[in-house]
Symmetry: C2
Subunit: 206 residues, 2 copies
DNA sequence: CAATAAGGCTAATCCAAATTAGCCAAAGGA
DNA sequence: TCCTTTGGCTAATTTGGATTAGCCTTATTG
C-alpha cells in the first residue's frame, strides 16, 4: 500500500533531476522496485503521476509555509522575539531559512522540479514565484516594519529591505542547487551578507 | 545556407521554452519551414543540434560578457566614470544590466534554456553559475572596491556589497522570466532597491 | 472456504517520434 | 552544357517507450 506513496517519491526524485520529458516510466518503476506495467495498478498514466505530485505540492504548500515561518509564528510574533534582536539573531534566522530550504529533502526536490518545469506550465511559474519570492518577501517586509517601529533598525522602506535581505539568500540557494560542492563557501558568504546588512541598517545611536 | 543558422535559432527557441526532452524534431522543422527529414541534411541528430547550440553558447560567452560589461570597458574604466558617480549613475547602470539581460533575445533564451537544463548537465550548471553569478559578482566587486578607494562609498567588504547590489537584480530577473506581465512592477522595485542601496552606502560627510 | 480484490509479472501492442532511403530540382562551376 | 553538390521532399523503417491484456499469487472478507 505504500507502493503508491513510493511511486510519488521516486517520481519526484527523477522529475526534479531530469524533468518530466526526460524520465521514463520504466525508470520510475525501477526506482520503486517493480516493473513498469505494475505502475498502472496505481496510476493510470505517467501524466497522472505528475499531476498527483503537483496536487500534493499545492496542498503541502501551507504546511511548508508554516514550517518556514518558523515555529508556526507569524511575523509580529517573530518581531517580538526580535525585540532583543541584533546581528546574531538575524544571522540565525537567515541561515536557518537558507539551510531549511537547502537541505529539506522534499523542499529541495520540489524547488528543483519547479525550476525545471516552470516555463512549460504557467501554474507552476506562479506557484514558484509565490513560494520563493512573494511570500518570503512580504513576510520579511512585515518583520522589518516591526523592527523599524520598535526603533531597532532604521526606518526605511521595509519592502526594499526585505528584498535586499532575502535576494542574496535566494541567489546563493540557487547556486547551491547547481553546485552543492560550493555550499561551505557560499554559506560563509551568506553569513557575511547578513552581518553586513545588519550593521548597515542598525541605528547608530544605540 | 542560412537554413542551418535558422535551425539553431528555432531549436534554441523551442528548447528554451519546453526543454530538450519535450521538443520534437518535427516541431523544429516546422518552425524552420521545412520537413523533419531535411534537418538531417544539416545536423546528424537532434542531439547534434543541441550540441551545436551549446558550442555557440560557450563561444558567444565572451562576446556577451563584453557587451555586459558595458562599452567593452573593464571595471577600472567604469569606476573612473563613476568618479562622478551618484545614485542616478548607479541606477542607470543597474537598470541597464537588468534590461539587457531581460530583453536581449538571445540572452533571454540562453538563460531560460540553461535554467531548464541545468540539473541534467553539470557543464551547463557551471556555465550558468559563472555567467549569471560569479562573473557579475566579481566584476561589481571590483567596481565597488574602486568606489571605496576613491572615497565615494563607505569602505566595506566589496564582495558583499556586490552580492547585495546584484542579487536583487538577479532575483527580479528570474521573476520576470516567469511572469513577464509583472515587468513594470518589478522594475520599479529594482529602481527603489538601487536608490536605497546607494543612499545606504553613501558616505555621510559629502 | 469460496470469492473477490490488490498488486505483482511477462508478453504483447501500439504509437509517436527519430532516423534512413532514395528520389528530384535547382544552383553553380568546369 | 553536363555533372556534382546542395538541400528539399515523400515514403519507409526503426526504435523506444507508454500502455494494455491477461495471468498468477497472496491477502481479505462474507
Amino acid at each position: 500500500m505504500n507502493t503508491k506513496r513510493k511511486i510519488l517519491d521516486e517520481a519526484l526524485n527523477l522529475f526534479s533531476e531530469k524533468g518530466y520529458g526526460n524520465v521514463y516510466v520504466a525508470q520510475i518503476a525501477e526506482a520503486v522496485g517493480i516493473k513498469a506495467p505494475s505502475l498502472y495498478k496505481h496510476y493510470k498514466s505517467k501524466q497522472d503521476i505528475f499531476s498527483a505530485i503537483l496536487d500534493e505540492m499545492k496542498c503541502s504548500y501551507d504546511k511548508q509555509a508554516a514550517s518556514l515561518n518558523m515555529n508556526g509564528n507569524n511575523a509580529e510574533a517573530d518581531a517580538e522575539i526580535f525585540s532583543v534582536v541584533s546581528e546574531d539573531e538575524l544571522v540565525k534566522m537567515g541561515m536557518g531559512l537558507f539551510m531549511y530550504f537547502l537541505h529539506d529533502e522534499y523542499a529541495q526536490k520540489f524547488r528543483k522540479m519547479l525550476t525545471i518545469e516552470q516555463f512549460r506550465n504557467p501554474e507552476l511559474a506562479e506557484l514558484f514565484t509565490k513560494q520563493y519570492a512573494d511570500e518570503p518577501l512580504s513576510y520579511q517586509a512585515a518583520m522589518f516594519t516591526m523592527l523599524g517601529m520598535n526603533g531597532i533598525l532604521k526606518e526605511q522602506d521595509s519592502k526594499i529591505m526585505a528584498l535586499q535581505f532575502y535576494a542574496p539568500i535566494y541567489m546563493l540557494l540557487t547556486m547551491c542547487d547547481r553546485q552543492p560542492e560550493r555550499e561551505a563557501e557560499l554559506s560563509k558568504l551568506l553569513e557575511q551578507h547578513i552581518r553586513q546588512f545588519s550593521r548597515i541598517y542598525q541605528k547608530e545611536e544605540s
